[in-house]
């Protein structure tokens, strides 16, 4: 017979962890999207001048996220920055997301045919008007699927923040596993929660994408 010591309280503990995961994802994606948008536009529109930026961002894309967490956390202590572990998690994940999103935005902007921009300029639109009304809307349709992928991957990468002492979904499930010794069941439940959260994001995204594609 199937019996378990997994209690309703454990479930609430997991959901608390899931809430932390969602918050981490939300804030780091916010940070990553705003910074990535600015950086990506700079990379696409001023490729020469922004070359040093590309080198810096390359570092954040290349060094494993776990190392970035631990290093930044130590750096924080050494410098004496008084910020919470949660903020450290958001900043590191946010910069990491920005590094990836920069490339997504850049390729989106470069995907706008120069001839279309030329046509809009020929109508008298200024450089900024062309950017606002033609380039950005067209680029965002190209960049959106990449951005959505990034959200989903960052959501899973938040699991790494447990190494700097934040209790999110994975850490919460490990705590429970240690106590009740039923790793299969607990990890299945945690996995299911990740799955549901991702599914909601993916579905919302797919709906938006479909609406855009109907126009093409």
């Amino acid at each position: 017979m199937f019996s378990t010591s997994f209690t309703w309280n454990d479930m609430l503990f997991l959901l608390d962890g899931a809430w932390v995961t969602l918050q981490l994802t939300f804030w780091s994606i916010m940070l990553g999207s705003v910074a990535g948008l600015v950086f990506g536009l700079l990379r696409a529109l001023l490729p020469r001048a922004s070359l040093p930026l590309a080198w810096v961002l390359d570092v954040f894309r290349s060094v494993p996220l776990l190392i970035q967490f631990v290093l930044f956390n130590s750096f924080k202590s050494i410098v004496g920055l008084n910020i919470s572990a949660f903020s450290v998690g958001c900043i590191v994940l946010g910069v990491y997301a920005a590094a990836y999103f920069t490339e997504i935005v850049r390729s989106g902007v470069l995907a706008v045919p120069p001839s279309v921009r030329r046509a809009s300029r020929s109508l008298g639109l200024s450089y900024l008007q062309d950017l606002r009304w033609i380039v950005l809307p067209m680029a965002s349709r190209v960049a959106f699927p990449g951005w959505l992928n990034l959200v989903l991957s960052v959501m899973k990468d938040t699991a790494l923040v447990m190494w700097i002492g934040i209790v999110e979904l994975l850490r919460a499930s490990q705590t429970i596993v240690t106590r009740i010794q039923e790793p299969l069941l607990v990890l299945c439940i945690a996995g299911l929660i990740y799955y549901v959260m991702s599914l909601v994001v993916a579905r919302l995204g797919a709906r938006l994408e479909r609406r855009w594609q109907e126009n093409d």
């Binding site: 001839s115 030329r118 046509a119 809009s120 020929s122 109508l123 809307p137 067209m138 349709r141 093409d216």
Partner: protein
């Protein structure tokens, strides 16, 4: 009036326009014909400042196009241009494509811009496509939309850069008809075209370009009907 005076234009080391002079008077339709690489499309791009020039000058209504002090965005409002690739804005409906510039550049209200767009689109025969996205239109319809989009700015000049070259043969006619209508309305037009018969029909003057220079210019009956230069005759023979 468009006054082109001894214009030189290079891409890197390659000089494509080598000292062209040409005047287009108000109400006149001038066609430019010639082989590919003869500099005719490039010259068109220089007229509204989309391309810089290395030497010479272009004046539109007395305004120096390639003067740093010239407000190009403002100058372009009165020079419409239609490209070989129709360059629709794919994220906007047909109506919004036409409304965009009048709203953002001329500062017209939504209602005004919409009325204007409806008028222009109906004029080019797209009266039933307002809410359609360009991706759903044929090439000919997209090109007519591009014409309406340029006309919505009420330009004084219209430039056509091989407007029918990228179209399927059966769609060429509808676009040419639209251009003919414009010419008959008295629009000042410069056409770069490979449609020799059309050029002969609508033009007041025809210029034959060769190696970045005006090789022969005159009435359509002269340049196309009875060319004085052997190269013009050879070109006309090759495109027939």
């Amino acid at each position: 009036m468009i006054e082109i005076d001894n214009v030189h234009k290079s891409f890197g080391d390659l000089e494509v326009v080598k000292g062209v002079s040409l005047t287009v008077n108000k109400g006149e339709v001038v066609s430019i014909i010639g082989g590919s690489g003869s500099g005719k499309s490039t010259l068109l791009m220089c007229i509204n400042g989309l391309e810089p020039i290395q030497k010479g000058s272009i004046r539109v209504d007395g305004i120096e196009v390639h003067n740093r002090a010239t407000d190009l965005n403002r100058l372009r409002q009165k020079i419409g241009i239609v490209f070989q690739q129709w360059n629709a804005f794919p994220h906007l409906t047909v109506l919004e494509n036409v409304m965009l510039a009048p709203r953002k550049v001329l500062g017209k209200s939504r209602e005004e811009a919409e009325a204007l767009a409806i008028q222009q689109l109906t004029h080019v025969g797209l009266g039933d496509k307002f809410k359609t996205f360009p991706g759903k239109l044929s090439g000919g319809q997209q090109q007519r939309m591009a014409i309406a989009r340029a006309l919505a700015m009420s330009p004084d000049y219209m430039l056509f850069d091989e407007a029918t070259s990228a179209l399927d043969p059966q769609l060429v006619g509808e676009v040419l008809d639209t251009m003919r209508m414009l010419a008959e309305d008295g629009m000042t037009m410069v056409l770069v075209t490979h449609e020799i018969r059309f050029a002969r029909d609508v033009s007041d003057r025809v210029a034959f370009f060769r190696n970045g220079l005006v090789h022969e210019i005159g009435s359509p009956d002269q340049v196309i009907g009875n060319p004085q230069q052997p190269e013009t005759a050879a070109f006309l023979k090759s495109v027939k």
